[in-house]
Assembly symmetry: C2
Homo-oligomer: 251 residues x 2
DNA sequence: GAGCAAAAACATGCATGCACTTTGCGTGCC
DNA sequence: GGCACGCAAAGTGCATGCATGTTTTTGCTC
């Protein structure tokens, strides 16, 4: 397992459910918008609603599920703008990671990274979900090598959210070329050229975001409000909840 | 109120407790290490343990309280290294904020910011806790102007954690000069010089961190293990839980 | 008086139960 | 046939109760 969040200690049941759901979400077994009733979860995992509820609370704090009062919890459905913002934050965070790591990784650590990328390579023909999960775990692995609990937490969290984004907006086979970029990243980290590695990470994440977010009109979007937004221009209804800022600045 | 996290909707009791505790923590009414028993909280806020527990879970997810299994929850006590890392992340995040905001703020927004700084100014003679809270809220106010929920969430969270850090390591009157830097920041934001404003924010936060973290030996530290760490060098005990990385690079 | 063990008090982990809210569906009215 | 109303099913919000684990106090021994 990749996660080492404080919330999921070894033997607590809520943590187990958290991990299971998290994985299900990032592997797209649970699509955005999927319903997560407390009793169903509790029954499925053999615990009471109390625990399921607690787990959902944690996941909501991470931004993976949406929790509305008196309503069923659902897997989060980030808007396009949120997705873009998430990637922007991720870029900064991961630049910080590689800047801290550049030239400081042990041979063992480099080997671990390379082994992971090999795994990604092997999964190339397999299902998309696995590729995405492995790619995400590569970034989390990097974060873990900083040994900074806070950085690890934030990068993990935001990487998971990006997964969610990918499953909403991403095209089927957009993560293939990323494997090679991971290789380049490792080489640059080994060389110790801090600026180069930061730039590389920047471009890597930027192009992942680019590949995922080019098509602003979501294909299998399920958020009614967003879909209806363009049509609402004629109606005198409320100005929607969406953000209008920077929509013109789409690349 | 400054917070608009998803977790604390308007009428849910857990959110109320969250906000109350958060405020108590950042105003140093609850010092790091303070005990937070579920029943006591529940009784104090007129709710059951279930709710208090939920609130503690949220706060733990934010890193403000530590939750150990079968043990009483306590206000988090970040290590010096964690504090340093927190500020590093904060710098990147807030640089992102001001880069997005530079030259794009309306007159009303600028006025709001200036009003807040005036408030900070007025609180100069008052208790430290209020100054620190206001200074923190200034940064959160900035983040909110990006209208990016994710950025708002992360900046808020990390700013609160920095508050916690300050109450652990900070010297009594270290936040005074920060008010002026806030003024400069607003002017730079208005001018629209993105690079300048990013640099300004960087230096501002860096110097806050500097002022707070110079004295690595914590004055009113309550973590026995950390206090004992330097003395443990002679003893053949376990190598402690602290991180050794970069400790030599202390400025 | 110091050291230690048992037990009481204390606090959490978790399940269950009840009240309230939302939602889906069927019925009756137009 | 279509629409509004209302009832029942489903689901959450929250409190309480019991089991378990931890901390402190007590009481005994040396």
């Amino acid at each position: 397992m990749v996660r080492d969040k404080a919330a999921d200690a070894s033997s607590d049941k809520a943590g187990t459910i958290c991990r299971a759901l998290r994985r299900a979400i990032i592997e797209q077994a649970l699509e955005p918008g999927a319903r997560l009733p407390e009793d169903a979860l509790g029954e499925r995992f053999g615990v009471s609603r109390t625990i399921a509820r607690h787990a959902l609370g944690q996941l909501a704090a991470e931004g993976l599920v949406e929790l509305r009062r008196n309503r069923i919890a659902v897997v989060a459905t980030p808007s396009w703008q949120e997705a873009r913002d998430t990637f922007d934050i991720r870029i900064e965070l991961e630049r910080l990671v590689v800047r801290q790591l550049s030239g400081r990784l042990s041979k063992a650590q480099l080997a671990t990274l390379r082994a992971h990328v090999d795994e990604e390579d092997a999964a190339r023909g397999g299902p998309d979900a696995v590729s995405i999960r492995l790619a995400t775990e590569f970034h989390i692995l990097l974060a873990q090598m900083t040994e900074s609990p806070i950085l690890i937490r934030y990068v993990s969290e935001i990487a998971y959210r990006c997964c969610l984004t990918l499953s909403l907006f991403g095209r089927p086979h957009s993560s293939d070329c990323a494997v090679n970029e991971h290789h380049l990243l490792i080489d640059a980290l080994e060389s110790g050229d801090t600026e180069k590695v930061a730039t590389l990470m920047h471009h890597h994440l930027d192009s992942v975001a680019e590949r995922a977010l080019v098509q602003q009109a979501k294909p299998r979007g399920r958020d009614i409000m967003d879909i209806l937004a363009p049509y609402a221009a004629t109606a005198p209804a409320a100005p929607s909840a969406g953000r209008k800022r920077r929509l013109d600045a789409a690349e």
